[in-house]
């Protein structure tokens, strides 16, 4: 189990900077997820850690050594690929054991390790099969088994669940989490799915265009996003972002969203927000924090009315779409409480969970 440090890591491909000088510190046994949209540089970063890509600038430290010039096989890392990358001409046992055989481990040791990994993954019965005889989920397990038997210092996952169907993905997510509990190895997990990142990781690194937007544990990422990008990326459905006019009235900051709609910022944030009075800012609030009218629990709760334009019942909640200032805004309400489409309805905005975003910097006004 090793720690990993990336220092000012940079990667350029033919003049295009894919990774622009990032710094990450991963502790031993930590499960870190790299998330971001396609092309943000997360896979490139992972491949640099693995040694499959050369580093243009900066350092990669695994454990206590700088591994920039160390071959992948000597970095003590194991990798699980998006397309499983199983050796097609070898059966499951051979796929899992080949690396060990080449490192001259004893037959007994190899069998023991393979058996142990197979037991964890539930693939004991598949040992004789070839990859093409396995289902997607089974292949993914074998790929993980191949990584587990290596007892590496670091596990690297490159979007391992992207090729599985939705149900399988949810299942495998839980499996991976359980495996991490058992095997307790440092993990770097790349995905474009923020749900995977949230559910699996100890810490999440959100990347965008080669740079890190924010590094934080899941809950903190959710509660206190640092930038508009992170705010919109984490959480499904996405946070509502509504242009507003900030106004100061006495000791209260108001956010004017629409001709007939204005919401008060929580009193405690007066000092934080009042410098922005008179400016046009972005008001961010997650759908789960716009509900049907409820008894106020905190002083930040505030009621307003709006016309329902679309309803999307999910069973547990109903998504309510309303129009504010020309934008479609999404809220979540208990199914029985919603009015019909087109009708007017009362909502409660739970303003304790609001964010104010500066449109010039796209940063969230910091509540620290």
């Amino acid at each position: 189990m090793a720690s990993i440090q990336l220092r000012s890591l940079r990667k350029t491909f033919e003049g295009v900077e894919a990774v622009r000088g990032i710094d990450i510190d991963i502790a031993q046994r930590e499960f870190v997820a790299l998330v971001g949209p396609s092309g943000c540089g997360k896979s490139t970063t992972l491949r640099m850690i693995a040694g499959l890509e050369d580093v243009t600038d900066g350092q990669i430290v695994i454990g206590d050594r700088v591994v920039n010039d160390v071959a992948p096989k000597d970095r003590d890392v194991a990798m699980v690929f998006q397309n499983y990358a199983l050796y097609p001409h070898m059966n499951v046992f051979q796929n899992m054991s080949i690396a060990l055989t080449l490192r001259k481990l004893s037959k007994a040791e190899i069998s023991a390790r393979v058996a142990a990994a197979a037991e964890i993954l539930g693939i004991e019965d598949l040992m004789d099969r070839r990859p093409k005889q396995l289902s997607g989920g089974q292949r993914q397990r074998v790929a993980m088994g191949r990584a587990i038997v290596r007892n590496p210092a670091v596990f690297l996952f490159d979007e391992p669940l992207s090729n599985l169907d939705a149900k399988l993905r949810v299942q495998m997510r839980t499996e991976i989490k359980k495996i991490h509990r058992r095997v307790q190895t440092t993990v770097v997990y790349v995905t474009h799915d923020q749900v995977e990142a949230m559910t699996l990781a100890d810490r999440i690194v959100v990347m965008n265009a080669g740079q890190i937007e924010q590094m934080a544990p899941p809950q903190e990422m959710y509660d206190r996003p640092v930038s508009r990008f992170v705010a919109e990326f984490i959480g499904s459905p996405s946070m509502n972002i509504i242009p507003c006019q900030v106004r100061r009235e006495g000791a209260q900051v108001w956010l004017d969203l629409d001709d007939d709609l204005r919401l008060p910022a929580p009193g405690g944030r007066y000092e934080l927000y009042q410098p922005f009075a008179g400016r046009e800012m972005l008001f961010g609030i997650r759908p789960e924090h716009i509900t049907e009218q409820r008894p106020h629990v905190s002083e930040g709760d505030c009621d307003f009315s709006a016309d329902v334009s679309v309803l999307e019942p999910l069973g547990v909640d109903t998504m309510v779409f309303i129009e504010i200032n020309g934008r479609e805004v999404c809220g979540r309400a208990t199914p029985r409480s919603v009015a019909g489409e087109g009708a007017r309805m009362r909502f409660t905005a739970h303003m304790d969970h609001m964010h104010l975003i500066d449109p010039d910097t796209d940063l969230v006004v910091n509540q620290q």
Binding site: A78, L86, R103
Partner: protein, 297 residues
């Protein structure tokens, strides 16, 4: 309205019309001749005098003729040697190309290896004969300079078949090279990456990964390569006209001698049929053997 019936009719008419010239041509110049060959092999004929029935006399003679035995042996050995060399060179060169990233270098190497294929086997043999000439040849000259004994490339019956193999392989390396270049470009890169991380690198990577994964191509190259090699004529003919003795004589040369020099068209046909049979059997054997070592996705 689209008239389906008349569309179908037009397709049929056009179909026959379009394939007619080619099919007729194939029947006249390929299928027909094959049948005729088989029949001809059962007769004595020299075009000038009438045909005389021979039965399987020609085949019996083939089985007993010592020249035929040498010739077929030469042909077979040549085929095997050439296929092995071609595959070895083509595979290793294509593998090396994976490390050449500069596109000018790639163009250079690709062109150089491919170029000899564009030449005539006869032409190549003409200048290669000068190269390998026992007395004035350049190869022997350099050998003697380094202090190594000169080799009677074209004058010794023990060596001359090897010389022909070398010349033929020199010219045909581009064939397997291109085949393997194509095959390597279709390998799944993720699997190769996984191997790097797992520790399968260097020669092990070649043995455990590259070889099995391109085994279909090796099979294809071997089958086609053998079929072509076994039909060789230009190189041994131009190099030494088959000599010394019969040591450089191949099956097709024998057909040429028998049919067009001795005017024994019947016997010549028999030799041709025999060669075809050898090719056919060898190919079938290779197909059967592929289950053992060829891996298909």
């Amino acid at each position: 309205m689209i008239d389906v019936a008349s569309l179908r009719r037009t397709k049929t008419i056009l179909g026959y019309l379009f394939v007619a010239p080619t099919i007729i041509g194939i029947l006249v110049f390929t299928a027909g001749p094959i049948a005729f060959s088989m029949i001809l092999s059962l007769f004595y004929w020299d075009i000038l005098s009438p045909m005389k029935y021979a039965g399987i006399e020609h085949y019996r003679w083939l089985a007993e003729d010592p020249v035929a035995r040498t010739v077929f042996q030469n042909t077979f050995v040549f085929g095997v040697v050439v296929v092995v060399l071609q595959n070895l060179l083509g595979f290793t060169l294509a593998l090396c190309m994976r490390n050449v990233l500069n596109k000018y270098f790639r163009f250079f190497f690709r062109s150089v290896f491919f170029m000899p294929l564009l030449m005539s086997g006869a032409t190549v043999s003409v200048f290669m004969a000068y190269f390998f000439n026992t007395d004035f040849g350049i190869v022997n000259y350099y050998l003697s300079i380094i202090g190594l004994p000169t080799v009677p490339w074209v004058s010794s019956s023990d060596v001359v078949l090897l010389t022909t193999s070398i010349v033929y392989t020199w010219q045909h390396v581009g064939f397997t090279f291109i085949l393997f270049l194509g095959a390597f470009s279709t390998l799944p890169t993720e699997v190769l990456d996984a191997a790097d991380v797992d520790g399968i690198t260097g020669w092990r990577k070649v043995w455990y990964l590259y070889l099995p994964l391109v085994s279909p191509t090796i099979f294809f190259a071997s089958v086609i390569g053998f079929i072509h090699a076994v039909q060789v004529f230009d190189h041994p003919y131009v190099l030494t006209r088959g000599g010394p003795g019969d040591s450089n004589r191949t099956a097709v040369m024998m057909i040429y001698d028998v049919a067009f020099k001795d005017l024994e068209f019947g016997y010549g046909s028999a030799v041709a049929i025999a060669l075809f049979a050898v090719i056919f059997v060898a190919t079938m054997l290779q197909f059967w053997a592929q289950k053992k070592w060829v891996f298909y996705e």
